[in-house]
């Protein structure tokens, strides 16, 4: 069994390596044919610049600052999304007030917001604000759905037993909305990260990955553009991995309680 598992993992790794080798090979051939680093740098040149970035302390400060801005925007959006979703589920007037905003934010191209918000906030706060705008509608909509789709029979039970507001929130609404929130959290951070960096590029935020990308365009340093884009991809993958591990852990914990698992139930274990 253990051996089969190891073989299966090995097969998967080989498949991933095969696919990566195919695309890197294609990229190498294309770079060789173009033969102009300004238009298409080779994978070797990109990796060597990336290695330089990884050994430079300043690169970590730049990446860290970009992450911090997006993280601040995301966390604020998640908190606001939960609060407003709860309020909108309770008071129709709040739902009526928030719903058009959410629809507008979702329909408006992010670049319009970046330019508009730049005039209001300046370039330091803008990436965080743009991340906020990306995350808020997703969290708000999902959490509100989770709350409004709380099974009616649970609420009837709460009425019969006279459960107080705090108990209802803790024992019924939060567990009902949790899977909706974790799904929103999983999908929204990646989006916020990309939109945040795009905002940094457009408004040249100091100490940011966006500014590095902007400079690489200005000075026609295509290798830098590829290297910093690689940094964005790597960080994005790491963040998504952390978020999915975190939310999957919550979901798994919840599912282990909810699912009819033969290994879980004492009664079924004995049977």
């Amino acid at each position: 069994m253990e051996k089969e598992k190891k073989i299966s993992i090995l097969k998967k790794l080989l498949a991933i390596a095969g696919v990566a080798a195919f695309w890197i090979g294609l990229w190498t051939i294309a770079a060789y044919r173009v033969n102009a680093e300004l238009i298409l740098p080779s994978p070797q040149a990109t990796v060597s610049r990336l290695a330089e970035l990884l050994t430079d302390r300043q690169s970590y400060i730049i990446a860290g600052m970009s992450l911090l801005r997006v993280f601040a925007g995301t966390v604020s959006a998640m908190s606001a999304g939960i609060v407003f979703a709860a309020a909108a589920s309770r008071f129709v007037i709040i739902e009526h007030l928030i719903s058009p905003l959410v629809t507008i934010v979702r329909a408006t191209p992010v670049v319009s917001f970046i330019i508009l918000a730049f005039l209001w906030l300046g370039n330091a706060l803008l990436p965080g604000f743009i991340s906020f705008l990306m995350v808020f509608p997703i969290v708000y909509t999902n959490v509100k759905t989770g709350i409004t789709e709380t099974p009616a029979e649970y609420l009837k039970m709460a009425d019969v037993f006279g459960l107080g507001k705090f108990t209802r929130i803790k024992r019924i609404y939060i567990p009902s909305a949790l899977p909706y929130f974790s799904s929103a959290a999983r999908s929204s951070f990646g989006l916020a990260w990309k939109a945040g960096v795009a905002a940094e590029v457009l408004v040249c935020t100091q100490n940011s990955i966006g500014l590095e990308i902007y400079n690489s365009k200005t000075y026609l340093q295509t290798v830098d553009l590829f290297a910093w884009t690689s940094v964005i991809i790597i960080l994005s993958l790491i963040i998504e991995l952390i978020f999915s591990k975190l939310t999957l852990h919550i979901d798994k914990k919840r599912k282990s309680r909810l699912e009819n698992d033969n290994n879980q139930g004492a009664y079924k274990k004995i049977r």
């Binding site: 108990t167 024992r171 309680r257 139930g265």
Partner: protein
């Protein structure tokens, strides 16, 4: 005494309870029988205050009655253990959790710290009954409490209901009329011809 006058309940065009008149005593054990769809569960839900009345009256009002109820579908929160589900009726306090466990043991549910998904249908039903018994009330309502239970377990549950609801009125919807006669001191059958005794119309009453 609970006085029910001209009670009518409609779902759209469908009349489930039609001008029901009945006086319920303050204490005792009542079984409600009748064919499926005759309004037994709706009757309990109205008394519990979770269904509205189309017309007529219930005095005292369901809000004043503050009934405790076990549902046909036990309606347990899947993310709470059996004991935690029962503890909800005790105010969801840490210090009342041992009593919730004790109640479950009394109803022959030993897996007090298991989640509902790990319990059989009969055990889930008993957790729902334990939750109803945990709450102190003058009126206990049980919607088909014995449906998922074997005879032996049904007797254990029946005796627990009698013990914990002593001095109060308990009303149980029961399909098996034979068992209903053993369990209750009065059997009300819905959907039969009016009987003037016991201030009843639309139901028949059998005092045992």
């Amino acid at each position: 005494m609970i006085i029910i006058k001209e009670l009518t309940k409609k779902y759209g065009d469908k009349t489930v309870i039609d001008r029901l008149n009945i006086c319920l005593p303050d204490k005792g054990c009542l079984a409600v029988c009748g064919v499926s769809g005759c309004g037994k569960s709706t009757f309990l839900s109205i008394l519990a205050g979770i269904e509205s009345i189309t017309s007529g009256s219930v005095t005292p009002s369901p809000a004043e009655l503050e009934a405790s109820m076990s549902f046909q579908d036990p309606c347990l929160l899947p993310w709470l253990t059996a004991a935690e589900n029962v503890n909800l009726a005790l105010g969801d306090k840490k210090e009342t959790l041992p009593y919730a466990r004790e109640l479950l043991h009394r109803l022959a549910v030993d897996y007090t710290d298991s989640y509902p998904s790990a319990l059989s249908g009969g055990m889930k039903a008993r957790v729902g009954i334990a939750r109803a018994l945990a709450r102190k009330s003058h009126l206990y309502l049980f919607d088909e409490p014995f449906a998922a239970l074997d005879d032996g377990t049904a007797d254990i549950v029946a005796s627990a209901i009698h013990e914990f609801t002593a001095g109060a009125l308990s009303i149980a919807v029961i399909h098996n009329t034979e068992f209903a006669r053993r369990f209750a001191d009065t059997v009300i059958t819905f959907g039969s011809s009016p009987i003037s005794d016991f201030s009843v119309s639309g139901v028949s009453v059998e005092r045992l």
